[in-house]
Point group: C2
Chain length 205, copies 2
């Protein structure tokens, strides 16, 4: 049975190789500009082989999407050591923004992916479960902040959503502005400056 095991492992490895090359090309040239032929070339396999391992181009996007969410969730793990909830909340924001700024293309893939519909019905849940899990971490932290006397008069669910929206909005607008090369008075510091403004709102007891 060891040969079967090796085969299974090799299959996984090739699958991972395809994903790695795809991500590289997506980041380099953009999703639209990356063709299956490009991917196949990059890993020295034929076009058909790519289709043996992934149903279609969307399946690749899909897998990378999940991968990115898992990666971000991983970044959040360091926060479990931060006991004070407000400190943790602030750190979460920093980590989130840092991830988006370090990986603008991945962030784009995570949130701005134009999903060609059918995978809605298909596997739908999986990759957004990762997103939902991350949101749970945020909600819990906000809950603890409320317990510690912050956010008086606010409601947990919409407040958590608002906080996520703020972070997402900052990252989304910044990335968009960066790739277009337009507006924004202080492009270098606007993100951290905006984040500081955000802190002034949430820190008040």
């Amino acid at each position: 049975m060891s040969s079967a095991e090796r085969k299974a492992r090799e299959k996984e490895e090739l699958k991972a190789l395809i994903l790695k090359a795809s991500m590289k090309l997506f980041v380099e040239k953009g999703i639209e500009q990356t063709t299956i032929r490009n991917i196949a070339d990059a890993i020295d396999y034929s076009i058909g082989t790519v289709y043996v391992y992934f149903k279609d181009k969307n399946a690749i996007l899909h897998a990378l999407h999940t991968q990115c969410f898992t990666e971000l969730a991983g970044q959040f793990r360091v926060l479990y050591t931060v006991k004070d909830p407000m400190e943790r909340l602030k750190a979460m924001g920093k980590v989130y923004i840092q991830y988006a700024m370090d990986n603008p293309d991945k962030y784009d893939l995570m949130f701005n992916l134009k999903e060609p519909m059918e995978f809605l019905n298909d596997i739908q849940a999986k990759e957004w479960d990762e997103g939902a899990a991350t949101f749970d971490v945020l909600r819990t932290t906000v809950q603890e902040c409320i317990g510690a006397g912050y956010f008086k008069g606010h409601n947990l669910e919409p407040l958590s959503f608002l906080i996520w929206s703020c972070m997402h909005g900052i990252c989304s607008l910044e990335i968009r502005a960066r790739t277009k090369g337009v507006l924004l008075k202080n492009p270098d510091t606007i993100v951290s400056d905006a984040y500081n403004e955000f802190l002034k709102f949430i820190e008040k007891k």
Copy 2:
């Protein structure tokens, strides 16, 4: 000279017709799924004609992009009657969110458009000038709010950006969640609920 004038007018009309049909198809079937042939069919002209009036598919996207920003700017015009700056700021948020919720596909077009690069160098400025102009209106309002005693200890530029980010984040996440059909505990009211949380932060003097 009247025939020349009429010809010029007819050209503009056909151009507008192409844009109208394109927008309809984009909203109906999505940008990727809308082909030049579809557009040509919809207006009973040939493929080539579309290319007589627009350099390529991107030029069409581009024109619609500008059109949407102009439309949103138009919605803001009602706000000029609101004297109190904080009331105006709150109303701006409402109008912004309303526009995004009423026209999710247009909003997507405005902010999530994957621009195939060259138009970066080309006409770049134009369509984002609309965005910049809108941002100016926001900044001015925030400035007046500060003058009225709000936002003590905050800085105008990053604060304005943060406020825009909040609104954009709310709309962006909601639209994304809606088209995927996932997460969010109270999908029906989450946007207005989050907006209300937002108000609690900014209303404090």
